[in-house]
């Protein structure tokens, strides 16, 4: 499976100045472009969910606190991806522990994503397919879901993925292989993925 070009290439940022400003100022003064980048990354990792804003907020706080420790060995986008990934892992871990003690009503279904397609039928198929894809991704373990999203769907390099998830490349390849198998096994039974988009 060859990787395509990443759909969202992070814009170059004046990082040193931003770090200095961020360490000097409060969390609320995080630059808007960094916040948008973080939102996009968290949206990709977590999918459309009700607590996405909370996750982004927690990741932003974590990012602004982690910025002074950033050594510049990777890009800011990779660093922010790592922060978002660890925030999501922590949140999901807390949620699992919490839901073990309390019975929760399942989160309400989200609206299907708006798709700008050529026709209404094509948009509807794509929207339903996207919903199925997010549902299938949600069934994967977090570590495998992250490497699939980052490498296969977002198009990041293997080394970048390894930097983000704090694992070596072999581990990432192993997780990727297992995750692909599981994801394909889930989606193969979905008729939406068995047909071409009209």
């Amino acid at each position: 499976m060859d990787c395509m070009a990443p759909p969202h290439s992070p814009e170059p940022l004046a990082f040193p100045a931003m770090v200095q400003r961020a360490t000097r100022e409060s969390v609320g003064d995080l630059p808007a472009d960094v916040l948008a980048m973080l939102y996009r990354q968290m949206r990709g990792l977590a999918g459309p969910r009700a607590d996405l804003d909370d996750l982004v907020q927690a990741a932003a706080v974590r990012l602004i606190r982690a910025l002074p420790r950033f050594e510049g060995r990777s890009s800011l986008s990779t660093f922010a991806y790592g922060v978002a990934y660890r925030t999501l892992l922590g949140h999901d871990r807390w949620y699992r522990r919490w839901s073990r003690r309390f019975s929760l009503v399942e989160d309400q279904e989200h609206d299907e994503p708006m798709v700008a397609g050529d026709s209404a039928e094509q948009s509807a198929v794509l929207a339903r397919r996207a919903t199925s894809l997010h549902r299938a991704l949600a069934q994967l373990p977090a570590s495998k879901r992250a490497v699939i999203v980052l490498h296969d769907l977002e198009g990041l390099e293997m080394k970048e993925v390894a930097d983000i998830v704090l694992a070596n490349e072999r581990t990432v390849r192993s997780r990727l292989r297992d995750g692909r198998k599981k994801l394909a096994a889930i989606l193969v039974s979905d008729p939406l993925f068995d047909q071409e988009v009209p």
Binding site: M1, G28, D29, L30, L35, A36, V115, L153, A184, V188
Partner: protein, 244 residues
């Protein structure tokens, strides 16, 4: 395997086709940015409240520690004894007997006689004033207590000494001795000194036959906390003698 690859390619196409638009991302980032900007204000407001509370508690603690309660001001001379339930006798009541001859002598604060003391007869050191029984009979009338109120923060230099009291008693000037003792009972440098001065006043009263007044003063001395046990015992002895 081919199916799996085809499915994953379609998943990637779907992912890219349904990626959130820039407008959606910007809206979400603005929502989170508003939250982040609102967050430090609440934290700062809470910090302000906590700081104000801590400062108030600190000032209250300072005020409490600096209150006159800790300096143990002398009790008012005419206050009835708290721990005893005997009704206070009138000040000018005639004495039931003559306890002045057996009243224990005054003891300066420096003279410690712990150990082998006998309740009735206590040996007096050389620096102690003359026995009260040597007082002239013209001064046997009830002595009005000195009711002068002085500030709590006394001038250390003007505080009378026990030597002056002893000298006045040696000279037979009981009026002056009583004034000095009253002054010392109010402005002594510690509670034990003040209690001993008040006990001296009680002994003077007892020597003049004013047993009721002597008993009141002795019981006041016995009720003072933190003074030497010897002083408390002497005060109680004097009160007991007066009631006999």
């Amino acid at each position: 395997m081919i199916d799996h690859q085809r499915i994953l390619v379609r998943a990637r196409e779907t992912w890219q086709a349904t990626a959130p638009s820039d407008a959606e991302i910007q809206r979400g980032a603005q929502r989170v940015g508003r939250r982040l900007r609102a967050r430090p204000r609440t934290v700062n407001r809470r910090k302000v409240f906590v700081s104000i509370g801590a400062c108030a508690a600190f000032l209250a603690a300072l005020a409490y520690a600096g209150s006159p309660k800790w300096t143990a001001p002398p009790a008012p001379m005419n206050a009835p004894p708290a721990p005893m339930n005997a009704p206070p006798a009138p000040m000018n009541a005639p004495p039931a007997h003559a306890p002045a001859l057996t009243a224990p002598p005054l003891t300066p604060p420096g003279a410690t006689q712990m150990g082998n003391e006998t309740p009735a007869v206590i040996p007096s050191p050389a620096s102690e004033p003359a026995p009260v029984e040597s007082a002239p009979s013209s001064l046997a009338s009830p002595i009005a207590p000195v009711e002068r109120r002085e500030p709590l923060v006394a001038d250390k230099a003007s505080e009378p000494s026990w030597a002056e009291v002893s000298e006045a008693l040696s000279d037979g000037d009981e009026k002056r001795a009583q004034i000095l003792l009253s002054d010392l009972a109010r402005r002594g440098h510690d509670a034990d000194n003040r209690a001993k001065a008040k006990l001296g006043l009680a002994q003077l009263e007892a020597s003049h036959g004013n047993c009721a007044r002597a008993r009141v003063l002795a019981l006041q001395v016995a009720a003072v906390r933190g003074i030497e046990l010897k002083t408390v015992r002497r005060a109680l002895e004097l009160a007991a003698h007066c009631t006999q």
